[in-house]
Symmetry: C2
Subunit: 191 residues, 2 copies
DNA sequence: GGACGACATATCAATCTCCACATGTGGTTA
DNA sequence: TAACCACATGTGGAGATTGATATGTCGTCC
């Protein structure tokens, strides 16, 4: 479906073009290497969703979206089957974080925050980039998706920083209590 | 890894227990049915990450985390290999949204917003629920992950509503322009 | 004219994942 | 005591995914 979408957005293209386009546009939402793209294009050709034409040099094949393909894409876009797999390593780690001690967890979160901050920067750059650098923008694309990505990364960064601060505060409090307890014990021992 | 984490968090458990726990806890971050869990437990037993003991009735097998298992889990939690698969159907749809006309896209977004709002409600309920209803809370778990989930769903809901409103505004503007153009044409025709 | 990098397509094996099918036991309740 | 539900564990096959490997061409720069 992602391939159909790109074909619709850009017009006829080769598998190679699509692979590059994938990288430079929806790679944040969906990943696919050329070893997935080529067989998929062959399958879609069989299904009549696209047509092929061998035209360019180096055995280049240009694929074009058919009416049936656009219909299928449209149907998928509008359809609302509940999302099948929402799966995120980051979320899993976040969930299991309390297994580590507070200091360690906080350190991990701070590194995570840096990572999100970096992604945030690169997305914000994209927002100010023009069509040359960001081909999908020419088609008015990714406008809303880009804003979403920016907001999400900002949220993630702030969440990581806040959680880290919270964990550190708790750790400090605990150490204080322990220290007080030890002081008391020492005082008792000294009696 | 998710399994190891749950084992660490809850202590010894059977595959059945883990499957249920999965559903009631990290299901939002990671999904796994029993048909994945049982083979995975067998594999981890071979690798020495857990030990099995057939004890309960009905062929129940209880799995216990070994030191090696905890070490592996710890290593995974602390380690920071860049996230491998971030893949989201919703994000993909969001990206391809401009392929639809504005009204249709807005309608889709409003339905999407409803969905996020519902998830938001259920997560907020979870926040106020006590350990009885939400077993992982007993272990102090999911505290930060839960807050993250709430923030994310709120963000998603607001993004969908804002984007829908924006699309509708643009569609209305366009229609106005078109109508004005037609008026002018009619006036010319009437001359 | 040779080297090199970008263009361009393809296949294979290993692994992961999903869904459906399959099988059986223990406790409770009508 | 029969029925039923929760408990409990598996297998098998289709399809997706990843990463490695393979092969060859075109244009350009030195």
């Amino acid at each position: 479906m992602a391939l159909l979408g790109l074909l619709k957005a850009t017009g006829p293209a080769s598998g190679y073009d699509l692979a590059k386009l994938f990288d430079s546009s929806i790679n944040n939402a969906w990943k696919a290497g050329h070893s997935q793209i080529y067989p998929e294009l062959a399958r879609m050709t069989e299904d009549g969703l696209v047509t092929v034409e061998a035209d360019g040099p180096r055995g280049r094949k240009t694929y074009t979206l058919t009416d049936a393909g656009w219909e299928a894409l449209r149907h998928w876009l509008v359809g609302r089957e509940p999302e099948r797999h929402w799966r995120s390593e980051a979320a899993l780690r976040a969930f299991l974080l309390p297994l580590l001690d507070a200091r360690e967890a906080a350190a991990w979160l701070r590194r995570e925050a840096e990572y999100y901050a970096e992604r945030l920067r690169s997305l914000e750059e994209l927002r100010h980039a023009d069509g040359e650098e960001y081909p999908m923008k020419r088609a008015g694309f990714g406008r809303y998706a880009l804003e979403l990505g920016i907001s999400q990364n900002r949220l993630l960064r702030d969440w990581a920083l806040d959680s880290a601060a919270d964990l550190e505060r708790r750790a400090a409090e605990e150490e204080n209590e322990t220290a007080t307890g030890e002081d008391a014990a020492e005082r008792r021992a000294g009696d």
